[in-house]
Point group: C2
């Protein structure tokens, strides 16, 4: 498996490969959530977790305050200046009255801007440059970009758990077979 993965990686540069994932996320979120009946959208991913709407808000916050701002601090200041801490709950007040469809559009616009700036600022030779995370210490630009992609995956998966939660009461005995719901109960 590791050999197959490293073979595959050698054919696509890390930056192109990471961007390929990042540019898909807003398209997937749009296909999945735009126009979906409201009844799918009320359940959080776990008992005290986030609804799909919270997740889109958090993805917006990360575009505004996390990913490209940190790339820029790293490129300008290296390890001389830590990244700003990131508020994971910035969306709660900010988005209170914003319709979900507008949040989805906003995320799409912000992601397009972020990737455009990334393309201007970073190339493959920059990936080993280092910065300082306020809690985790020294990190590389490659790790920051990889984390951006996995953060997308983590939060879209969270949307899926919330959607599944909306149907928890409807599937009856099949619940025994559906890990997405038993993991949600255990969390």
């Amino acid at each position: 498996m590791l050999e197959a993965m490293s073979d595959a990686r050698s054919t696509t540069a890390f930056l192109d490969e990471t961007t390929a994932l990042l540019e898909r996320t807003p398209r997937v979120v749009h296909e999945l959530l735009a126009g979906l009946p409201r009844s799918w959208l009320s359940a959080p991913d776990t008992a005290d977790g986030w609804t799909p709407r919270d997740v889109v808000g958090h993805l917006i916050s990360a575009e505004l305050d996390d990913w490209m701002p940190r790339v820029e601090i790293l490129l300008e200041h290296g390890t001389d200046r830590p990244f700003e801490p990131f508020d994971r709950f910035a969306h709660v007040e900010r988005d209170r009255d914003v319709p979900l469809h507008d949040l989805i559009d906003r995320f799409e616009e912000l992601r397009a801007d972020s990737l455009s700036r990334l393309g201007e600022l970073v190339d493959e030779d920059d990936l080993d440059r280092k910065g300082i995370h306020p809690e985790l210490g020294e990190v590389t630009l490659r790790q920051l970009l990889a984390t951006w992609a996995v953060h997308d995956l983590d939060h879209v998966a969270q949307i899926y758990a919330g959607l599944a939660g909306s149907y928890d009461a409807d599937i009856g005995p099949w619940k025994a077979y559906l890990g997405i719901l038993s993991r949600r109960d255990r969390a």
Copy 2:
């Protein structure tokens, strides 16, 4: 939360609401996986789990042998005849040499056919009709359709875990924050 959900449900019939999710799944899978660099596609969701390609194969199997065939048995035979058992690993041999893009297209076609047949055969008044699951016993058509939708959600989330696994080694110390990877390790 339950009150909000039941309010929401009252505005959209269960069948329309369920179909709205089911018709999105092949579009999401297409947006996410079509043309994604190979390096994203090699990791399974858990150590002995499925790659994204396996998941698409399994979704194809379920269209062929599970959902609409079971709807038809339930409508024709009620509780007089149990559903056929479903082979969760049918894709392993069947799809061995099929390119991922062809699997995605095949799933899209099969899902469109399934939803077209569902629309012809079932209306809201049929949802309390009963059938027999070979292991779970008596189930309703509503539960079968709800399970179809949650099964989609479960398996697309599994694709997300596999994609995240492909970048496990790249994110460095951020792994501590990303539940999608720690859940994958624990599974």
